[in-house]
Amino acid sequence: MSASAAPSRARELLGVSALTNKALTSWLHGLPGIDAVGCEGRAAALSTRSIKTDAKAWAIDTAISMIDLTTLEGADTPGKVRALCAKAVTPDPVDPTTPRPAAICVYNDLVGIAREALGDSGIHVAAVATAFPSGRASLEVKLADTQDAVDLGADEIDMVIDRGAFLAGDYRTVFDQIVAVKEACGEAHLKVILETGELATYDNVRRASWLAMLAGADFIKTSTGKISPAATLPVTLVMLEAVRDWRDLTGVQIGVKPAGGIKTTKDALKYLVTLNEIAGEDWLTPQWFRFGASSLLGDLLQQRRKLATGVYTGSRDVTID
């Protein structure tokens, strides 16, 4: 869908002639409320599945291929980004059958370095733009930030929503900003970070998810990783319900990316189970589901080796981020 089509589709969906803040508010607040206890109970129940042997091996490989290998530090150097790219291209030098992560996720100014280091490996470069992580800047700055990343060759843009505007009930501003950034993205895929840790309630997560999809997001993403709590299973469950319902309503499939705090294979498997149960098998590919993570890859590689060799691996057998 082209970016400029979002407002007209939104008017159609909402059944209004003008997309006012009032119209958005009544639509978003008309979404069914979430039973927080039930949601957490469901997430807890889904995390008790036992995934072993062949299924575990498949899940580990799938999880590796879904990783957006991320480094978002003020201290990121070109050398560190190149090292991360080398790890993405060859995740396990001992075993060439190891799948590669889906993308490298870096700050804007390091996109060029990553692009060059990844060459023709097929691994995407994702850039965080729009005054990440706070999102506190004017729209002009956010658009220039996005344009910058696209010009440097980013395949995917991770933007943050204006949580201040969202919490103040100014949904129209949030909507317009996403539409504008989507337009600046051009061919690049747009992931919209809701920063669920700042949204306070599951109802808000559901509203933010629908608002982002309405405005033309290709992916909805939980968190920046800079705020605690980052991704949690119940929050991801709410977002997966949102993309499932959105496809039923519009026929358009949207991806989901939990990010931050997913460190172990066990965590990743819980997310995959939830993904399969809530959204369905159609989402079980890197095209529609990603993990924003850095240390997760190391643990997945350790578990992969354990399955292959039958021997527990050492903490020093894999690189640390």
Binding site: V311, Y312, G314, S315, D317
Partner: protein, 290 residues
């Protein structure tokens, strides 16, 4: 007056400073040398071994980084608490090993004394195992021992307390952390020792105690690539344990291996062998001219 019901104990593992049940949920009955029921102990699994190694790995740098003086103080405190639990140790050693109470008392005293002896070693290791090497050049050349890292210990099968102390104390005195597989048939003194460690100042994870069948658990410990050294002493006299196979598995990541003797020693004396094996010598060249 009503007869008081006996409190039957079901002990747990000691991992990372906590007392978890075995991940497998299994337990087994521990009996005295004469076959009477003593208590239930946790039947550890390979995943318990894995968790114990993880705990030992994360505790090791902090323990090695503590000053030798501090480590000595902490170990001496362990001996103090053992002294406070003397009666319990005596009863457990007597029941487990089938010896008389006077004999058990002698064993417990020796074990406590041995712990004190090793507590005194922490700040003397470098003086004895290190050296200032003569070299043909204008350099200071210094060799100093450093802890090997995470050590797996297959504890002696027969000597449930004195033997146990003799294999654990030198390893941690040197700054290593360890995962101990206890005597399969006589685990109670080791369990009580873990309760002593938990109430002393030894940081959680420095000593981890896993009870259960040696033949099931030792291969996982020997093959684990995050274990830097393994003491196979307890393979002597253990049911169904192939020490050679364990040594082969240990070679995968070049662990330091202490081979078992054909028969378990009597633990009457001790020496620096374990200190030597479970430390690595670091040699530093330093330009003189100061």
């Amino acid at each position: 007056m009503a007869t008081r019901l006996e409190v039957k104990k079901t002990y747990k593992l000691y991992v990372g400073g906590k007392f978890p049940r075995s991940e497998s949920g299994r337990t087994y009955e521990v009996t005295s040398a004469r076959g009477a029921f003593l208590a239930n102990a946790a039947w550890g699994s390979r995943k318990d071994v894995r968790d114990a190694v993880t705990a030992a790995r994360s505790a090791q740098p902090g323990w090695a980084g503590a000053t030798a003086y501090n480590r000595g103080q902490v170990l001496y405190r362990v001996a103090e608490i053992m002294e406070g639990r003397r009666e319990q140790f005596v009863a457990e050693v007597a029941a487990s090993e089938g010896v008389t109470k006077p004999r058990a008392t002698t064993i417990v005293d020796a074990a406590i004394d041995r712990w004190v002896w090793w507590a005194g070693w922490t700040d003397k290791i470098a003086q004895v195992l290190g050296n200032l090497n003569p070299v043909a050049g204008p350099y200071f050349n210094v060799s100093a021992p450093e802890p090997t890292g995470v050590i797996g210990i297959v504890a002696p099968q027969r000597s449930s307390l004195l033997g146990l102390v003799s294999v654990v104390a030198p390893v941690i005195a040197a700054g290593n952390s360890c995962v101990v597989l206890t005597s399969e048939q006589r685990p109670l003194p080791a369990i009580t020792l873990s309760e002593v460690l938990a109430t002393s100042d030894v940081p959680g994870g420095v000593v981890n105690v896993v009870t259960g069948p040696t033949a099931e658990l030792a291969p996982w410990l020997a093959a684990h690539r995050d274990v830097d050294g393994i003491d196979l002493t307890g393979c002597a006299g253990a049911d169904g344990v192939d020490a050679t196979a364990l040594e082969v598995a240990a070679a995968d990541n070049l662990k330091r291996v202490l081979r078992p003797a054909a028969d378990e020693p009597d633990w009457g004396t001790t020496d620096l062998e374990r200190l030597r094996i479970f430390t690595e010598t670091k040699t530093v060249w330093h330009p003189k001219g100061l």
